[in-house]
């Protein structure tokens, strides 16, 4: 019912606008087209300058409403991200100034040079000096921006510091799997045909590779404050993207082609809760590349902690090898032996 009412109201509004429009056309024919054109011109010239002023007020008001909801009021959560932020401010300053000046000129000219009967237009087809000026100035400004940008870009995409820890991130429809190399600091080899979710091998790790035996597989990423981390990113199925908005970083997860990304977390999750005044704050990994119908729910959690807390957490993790082969686990050895005995008995009875 409300649906029909809404449609009826919209139709009515249309009808009214249409009638007004039609009437105004008749009036303009009666008054003479020149007269009505001049009137329209005045109104629209006035609206142009009103739009400029209203628009600039709107820009200010929008900023007032939403600035606090962006990431900008707080410091970047990674050391490298702070460089993104400072670049962002420089770019904002440059483009902001150009924006205000050019829009003001555009609507200002539109208002100022609206048609007047006695105005003689200025025949001004070209002027080389002016054109050189506004070719050269943008070129110089952009060069500066490019230099800032590329310095940061090479830092972000370059080699991480030597003391960086390494975490492997693998995307799949629709969650993330993390792997730590364990005490030996090296990952065991993996191959996608070995993937076997039922037998605790969601990454396809080759258990023959001894390096894999202490690899730890987790469903959240725990990082150490102040310690650079290098992510080795991959995907099991389609393209995903590791989106780390608080750290100002992002990298695609592509099946078959490993990618990397590194950064240095600056604040623990606890500290971020205080900084953002949000007790529920949590570092989220958002999948930023369309990956299927549940793309929007593909979330990963990162916890940044102190070194001690990290050590305690890591000590509690069981290597995936032992999860996949519980019988190899010394703490399970006795239990496993009992089960084996029971099984042997059953076989004997048969």
């Amino acid at each position: 019912m409300t649906m029909f009412l809404t449609i009826a109201v919209i139709a009515l509004i249309f009808l009214v606008i249409f009638q007004i429009a039609k009437a105004s056309e008749y009036v303009s024919v009666l008054k003479g087209e020149d007269v009505s054109r001049r009137q329209n011109n005045k109104i629209n010239g006035f609206l142009m300058v009103t739009f400029l002023i209203g628009g600039l007020i709107g820009v200010w008001y929008c900023n007032k409403l939403y600035y606090g909801k962006t990431l900008l009021p707080y410091d970047s959560a990674s050391v490298e991200g702070a460089r993104v932020d400072s670049m962002l401010w420089i770019t904002l300053a440059v483009t902001g100034i150009v924006f205000v000046i050019t829009q003001a000129i555009l609507f200002g000219f539109a208002y100022k040079y609206q048609e007047q009967e006695n105005r003689k237009v200025f025949y001004f087809p070209h002027n080389n000096k002016l054109e050189v000026l506004w070719t050269a100035v943008p070129a110089v400004v952009l060069t500066v921006l490019v230099i800032f940008g590329l310095r940061n870009w090479f830092l972000f995409t370059g080699e991480p510091p030597k003391d960086a820890m390494v975490v492997e991130v693998t995307g799949k429809q629709f969650n993330w799997i993390f792997r730590y190399p364990g005490k030996d600091g090296s990952f065991g080899k993996k191959y996608f045909r070995n993937i076997d979710d039922a037998n605790s091998n969601s990454l396809g790790i080759l258990w023959d590779d001894k390096l894999s035996h202490d690899d730890v597989v987790t469903d959240k990423m725990v990082l150490v404050k102040g310690r650079p981390v290098k992510l080795i990113i991959g995907s099991r199925d389609v393209i995903h993207d590791v989106g780390l908005s608080h750290f100002r970083m992002k990298m695609d997860a592509v099946p078959g082609i490993p990618t990397t990304l590194w950064f240095t977390p600056k604040y623990t999750t606890k500290e971020m809760k205080e900084i953002t005044h949000n007790p529920d704050f949590v570092y989220e990994i958002s999948c930023d590349q369309m990956c299927g119908n549940s793309h929007y729910s593909m979330k990963g959690i990162i916890e940044v902690v102190d070194q001690e807390e990290y050590d305690v957490w890591m000590a509690k993790q069981k290597p995936q090898y032992l999860v996949a082969f519980p019988d190899k686990d010394p703490s399970n050895a006795k239990a496993a032996a009992d089960t084996a005995k029971a099984a042997a008995k059953t076989v004997a009875k048969l």
């Binding site: 048609e115 429809q173 992002k250 299927g292």
Partner: protein, 605 residues
């Protein structure tokens, strides 16, 4: 081949008019079919492109209203949605499948069917012969085929909406493996087959059209119409056609490989894939990134294919209605040329975060930001064209000014995103949505509106209603900024694109009121477009009649034709051109048409 010869060879229908000044009133035999359906008259084909484009604009726009409904009201249910969409909106809430299908189809349709076919298909067809002084296109028959391939593409795309597994839902860029594997997403089954077929047909249409436009501009200019006397619209449409002809085949090759991967077991794009529920796939050794290179080799020129015709028309309309020559004609042509060249050299800026070689990335940063220079030249030249003019705010002029405003706003955020070190943060967030909707989507739409309002009198011999035009302009202008400006803030919060629901995200859920506001404005703006459509179709039949041959006091050749030109455009000889198209306000004369010979006492510029 001369104009006359072409007409004799291909279309017989206009020969009467070619032969004589005397009996052009004499009507040759035209059936309904040859006049309105399988027409070879470029003006009719232009109208066919335009109206088909409008139909798609309504469909694509309505789709955006539907998915904005989900974004604005994620918790609400609308029973009428279930009536409309059936199982795609069970219980009155759009399902994720439907949401992604809507987003994907909205993007595909708006980019290709509306802003490529609807925009350059319409105006290249309509304006090129009229403004260069030709009786028709180089090949009217290919031109007709171009439209009908587009029509077929439309039918196939439309049919994909009614497939049981749904239309393609992996985003308009159709990245594999998602688009290659039916098991990864239901939309990648039959829906994707239809999507590719439709796009392949579209590429054919686009190539047929493009080759024709280039051939016509290069070979069929009237006497005296040297390249540097052409209106900027023609220059822009020329570069657009060149871009399309050189880049669409690359897209096509990318699609062919995708078809092979989908259907014939090849591994161009596939490697190391394990699909839950299906297991490991046999494919090894392919590169998913290869597709992105092929796609964006078209994809980036494509945004200029969309933008350049709008730039050209805006240049023309700004000059005519400022009653002043366009400032820096040669610089305008030069910057169009620079943009056309650079358009081919920046594609990988869409791929900064794919794991691209960082050095390669840095080259693309440099080339991308270089595009800002010709763009800046164009903006400053438009502003100078307004300076000390005598501006008439026709609805066409309003949209042209709106175009410049939007192009500035959206262009400046391009400087953010083109810099890879900022893109690494803002990539695939709402910041990108805001950027490309303003600079490419809405701005080109404004260029298209400007063109429609300006050339409607030439198309139909009647005017659009001005008051409705002004209402249309102001609501759309204000609405566009209200919709897309705040999205920058969502992007600066890192909010990703293409999410069905943000409510479970601690980092992004703070924008629910803003999303509701944006959705509301989007609906209002959509409604106003319907008002424009009404104005369009009403005015075709009932609009105020055009009584003078040259209602805007314009210099270009299309206004030397009769008010309602027949096939062949000029009843008599094709006029000869003696000057460039922008002698407005010269030597105290308000305007001097291109057909006026240069006087002995005329000043030199």
């Amino acid at each position: 081949m001369s104009n006359e010869a072409v007409l004799h060879a291909h279309s017989g229908v206009a020969t009467h008019e070619v032969h004589g000044d005397h009996h052009h009133e004499h009507h040759h035999h035209e059936t309904f079919i040859t006049k309105y359906v399988f027409s070879q008259d470029h003006k009719m084909i232009a109208k066919q492109f335009l109206i088909t484009g409008m139909v798609w604009a309504v469909i694509g726009g309505l789709m955006s209203v539907l998915f904005r409904l989900q974004l604005g009201y994620p918790e609400s249910t609308f029973p009428w949605l279930e009536d409309l969409l059936g199982k795609w909106a069970k219980g009155g809430r759009i399902t994720p499948e439907a949401y992604y299908a809507l987003v994907t189809t909205h993007g595909t349709v708006l980019v290709f069917f509306v802003l490529t076919a609807g925009l350059s298909g319409t105006f290249a067809n309509f304006l090129i012969p009229l403004q260069v002084g030709a009786r028709d296109m180089a090949s009217p028959f290919l031109n007709m085929l171009s439209y009908w391939f587009f029509f077929l593409a439309s039918v196939v795309m439309l049919s994909s909406i009614f497939v049981e597994t749904g239309p393609f839902s992996g985003g308009w860029t159709a990245y594999p493996p998602l688009s290659a594997l039916g098991a990864a997403s239901p939309g990648s089954k039959t829906g994707m087959d239809l999507w590719i077929i439709s796009m392949a047909l579209f590429v054919v249409s686009s190539l047929l059209g493009g080759l024709n436009y280039i051939a016509t501009i290069l070979n069929m200019r009237t006497k005296g119409m040297s390249m540097t006397r052409m209106p900027l619209t023609i220059w822009a449409l020329f570069f657009t056609a060149v871009l399309g002809v050189l880049s669409f085949p690359v897209l096509f090759s990318g699609f062919i490989l995708l078809i092979f991967d989908r259907n014939f077991g090849t591994s161009f794009y596939l490697s190391d894939i394990f699909i839950a529920g299906q297991g490991a796939l046999p494919n090894e050794g392919g590169s998913a990134i290869l597709y992105q290179h092929l796609f964006w080799f078209l994809g980036h020129p494509e945004v200029y294919i969309i933008l350049l015709p709008a730039m050209g028309m805006v240049s023309e309309i700004l000059s005519v209605n400022s009653r002043k020559p366009i400032f820096g004609y040669m610089a305008m042509v030069g910057s169009l040329f620079a943009i056309a060249i650079l358009a081919f050299l920046v594609w990988a800026h869409h791929m900064f975060v794919t794991g691209l070689n960082p050095f390669l990335g840095s080259i693309f940063v440099l080339l991308t930001l270089l595009i800002a220079v010709p763009s800046a030249i164009k903006v400053f030249n438009w502003l100078t064209t307004l300076w000390r003019g005598n501006i008439r705010f026709t609805p066409g002029m309003m949209f042209a000014i709106g175009f410049v405003s939007l192009f500035i706003s959206g262009g400046l955020t391009g400087i953010w995103l083109g810099n890879s070190a900022l893109d690494i943060h803002l990539h695939d967030t709402y910041f990108v949505i805001a950027h490309f909707h303003i600079v490419m989507g809405v701005a080109s739409m404004f260029g298209m509106f400007a063109g429609i309002y300006h050339w409607f009198p030439k198309m139909y011999g009647r005017y659009l209603n001005n008051t409705l035009g002004y209402v249309h302009f102001w609501v759309t202008m204000i609405g566009a900024y209200l919709i897309f400006w705040p999205m920058h803030y969502e992007g600066l919060a890192g909010m990703p694109r293409r999410y069905y629901d943000y409510s479970s995200w601690e980092s992004f859920k703070q924008f629910i009121e803003l999303n509701r506001f944006i959705s509301t404005v989007a609906m209002i703006v959509f409604a106003v477009q319907l008002l424009f459509l009404f104005n369009f179709f009403y005015s075709i039949f009932k609009g105020r009649k055009v009584k003078t041959q040259n209602p805007w006091g314009s210099n270009t050749l299309e206004w030397t034709t009769p008010i309602r030109p027949g096939h062949g455009n000029w009843p008599g000889e094709i006029p000869e051109v003696h000057r460039w198209a922008y002698d407005y306000g010269k030597d105290g004369k308000e305007f001097i048409p291109q057909t006026t010979p240069v006087g002995a006492d005329e000043s030199h510029h």
